[in-house]
Amino acid sequence: MKRKVFVPMGIAAMVLYLSVNTPQTAHAMHIMEGFLPVGWAVFWWVLFLPFFLLGLREIQRTTRANPETKLLLGLVGAFAFVLSALKLPSVTGSSSHPTGTGLGAVLFGPLTMGVLGSLVLLFQALLLAHGGLTTLGANAISMAVVGPFVAYGVYRLLSRGGKRQKLAVFAAAALADLSTYLVTSLQLALAFPAESGGVLASFAKFAGIFALTQVPLAISEGLLTVLVWNWLHAYNRTEMEQLMAAKRGV
């Protein structure tokens, strides 16, 4: 049923997107090392730390209550790991990568995904010079905190009554991806307001670079998340429902 909606919707969106966009060279990724002034770098780090600590506690609680879900936890972490390694070409003539945080946020809750997402960012900052340590706080807020919370909220909102699960998962993952890069744009805009137009003008500029490139990738990420969701539903429904029931109880 759902694919009848997905495919034409995807094609229509793609056509519209290709027709309104003029190619430009832009590279959409995380905020580069050293590219946030010290004050902002510290601000985002301080904001991020409590989420990380709460996330650690949440993981401990989940694995203690349902020890058999550890492998599933590894799977959602690995999903984020793979997706953020895939730099996909996009319609702006540049490449970016998805975030892969939606799946884990829906299954384990946003706090758990905050920890897993920031571990992915740490790996990329240390080994790949992609993102950075000073900007890790800011990047973690966008990818590991805001993204997962958006995913969780969208899923809860759309899946009410247990219907339209696939659509809810798709929207959750796609919007998590997109919101991550909108936050990145906002973070850069706050740190570097334009001389005329201030933060708003600057935000438009960065969003043009970061968020626009991300649109088709967000769609891809939503679709891939539905794929994994279906497989899980086919082979591991018990644990999935166990986790979601535990979440609803809280």
């Binding site: 759902k2 694919r3 495919v7 995807g10 793609m14 290709l18 190619p23 060279t25 832009a26 590279h27 990724m29 905020i31 580069m32 090392e33 050293g34 590219f35 002034p37 492998l71 599933l72 590894g74 799977l75 690995a78 999903f79 984020a80 790991f81 793979v82 997706l83 953020s84 390694a85 070409p89 996009s90 319609v91 003539g93 540049s94 490449s95 790996f123 990329q124 240390l126 080994l127 790949l128 010079a129 950075g132 340590l133 000073t134 850069l188 570097f192 307001p193 960065f206 670079i209 088709p216 891809s220 679709l223 891939l224 539905v226 794929l227 994994v228 279906n230 899980l232 082979y235 591991n236």
Partner: protein, 103 residues
Amino acid sequence: MGKSNRYLTIAILLVVILLAVLPLAFIHGSEFGGSDDAAEEAVGQLAPDYEPWFQPIFEPPGAETESLLFALQAAIGAGVIGYAFGFFRGRSTKKGRTNEDSV
């Protein structure tokens, strides 16, 4: 897995591939660069005096090493996903069989 699910899987994979291939087919004269040049450039325009105050501790010496590390990241992740799905699938078929046996 049901038949409609299998079709959905194939449809999803096709759309994802299309989304990646279409830009390559339609946009010419771009290298689809992966460095963060444009954002750096934008910062340069907005704040010409800004100097990055911290450098990456370790930077892959070249494109080859960088792609090695990215491939490694994807491979590790894919390995874990493959292991988990193999485990889940094996367990669910085993469970199905025991249920049949007991009936």
